[in-house]
Amino acid sequence: MLRYLVVRTAQTIFAVFVVATMIFLGLQLTGDPMENLAPQDLNQAQVEELRKAYGLDKPLHVQYLRFMVQLAKGDLGVSFLSGEPALGLILERFPTTLKLVLAAMLIAIVLGLPMGVAAAIRVDTSVDRTLRFLSVLGISAPAFWIGIMLILIFSVNLGWLPSSGLSSWKHYLMPAFTLSLYRIALFLRMVRSTMLDVLNQDFIRTARAKGLAERVVVYKHALRNALIPFITVAGLQFGHLMAGAVVTEKIFAIPGMNRLALDALYSDDRPVIIAFIIVTAVLFAVVNLLVDLLYALIDPRVRYA
């Protein structure tokens, strides 16, 4: 187990290294940052001075080497706009996004998982058909539009819920639901189909044949096996949410890291963009690692040597 952990951690670091290299190369292809960065009224000499100040006058390989060394030290440069360390800016907003995403994941699991099980054990009944239709509906609804609808109904018309910020639990309800809607539908579909696969297997027939209560068969034998692919998908969705909550953060005016990254994208604030992508890459890699470890805990057949 320890060896596995070490190998996987090394792989994780390598993956982040690859991502960092790709970002560096990719940014070279997208043009001169000075075009957006330098105020319009600067003359040529002032622009060159600014370029020097950010180290953008050095040859490419020198810039790359410096970029990598600083990355290893956890220094991703300062924001072109505010002058503060880019990584610090992103990490400062990280908890806000994390709290929102955890709330969304909680909603998605609490609703999606039982509905998926319910649809599977009542397959081809009206319950199943209704749930399936609802899940297609959930997957089809544009998240940004659902967010706006919620604001229209609960903030503008009814005045029950606040439409921006995250200062109380009430603030979390609408943005977390907006984020979770697609995942509720996704989890429902996925749990339903894996449960159906598992329920058709021999060991389930055996369990029923030896007279176990249906409840035990479904929840103890079938669900436990269906949970394994579910954990992968849930882990993946957690990563996607952390790096994809941008629309929700924009609509509900939440000062999360996606919002910051979007603003950085608009203003071509490259250090902040890079910091965001690196943080996201590390997060994805860590989530993957945790999912693999959870596997070993849940499924006794999987034990890593």
């Binding site: 940014l27 997957i139 544009p142 994809g244």
Partner: protein, 277 residues
Amino acid sequence: MPKNFPWFAALVLLAFVLAAIFAPMLAPHDPMQGDLMISQMPPAWVEGGDWAYPLGTDEQGCDVLSILLYGLRVSLAVGFGAVVISVLIGTPLGLLAGYSGGRLGEGIMRLADIQLAVPTFLVALVVLALTGGGSVIKLILVIGVVGWASYARLVRGAVLSEREREYVLAAEALGMSQGRIMFRHILPNVLSVILVQMSVDVPRVILLEATLSFLGVGVSIETPAIGLMIQRGLDYIYSGVWWTTVLPGLVLATLVLATNLIGDWMRDAFDPRRRAT
């Protein structure tokens, strides 16, 4: 006719496609030529509305119905166009990786793994933002290129299981070229897998385009697009102007729902694994 075919969804999709094709004839007004005198007029059935502008007007005085009709063109063009690009790139690479294998095949699949590990949305967002927004063509290309990997992986998997079948062995024994075997013999047999994946991707890409345009990195401001319309409408929801967000969202959701229902049906009908269970 096939079992459980979603007739209603198919009719809705057909209506949307026809509406998009004939938008110039159907639209009562120029979608981008507004009249500020009549800006933010509510839909015709609401008090203060006018049947000359059935779904009302936006803050520029542009006709909402006309923008929606033209907006459908953008949604459908990007949805189908990008997916076709992904198929055109991913299929040959998947065939190559699956049939010839070797180091090249390995390399292709590693690249696909990397691409699949990063959310399409994020890549498209960063690329479009850093290259300064775009046109419909640019969106099709960017989303299309980013989406190649799932097709490469899918086709490779299908090819691996086809490769040892008798008809391939027979073609090899007859001394046919690799290219001929790949495209003329194996490809027709993996088409259903590609088709199923396309039906899942089209609605996803339609939503992706709308989201990118909503964030201001999709189609340019002068384009009548559904995502852009909702973005502009967002500024006015607190002043009671609901029709520039609610209506385009409804159209978008209906379009995506119809394509998703057809996609679900196609997966059940064509996916050999599902047929077996």
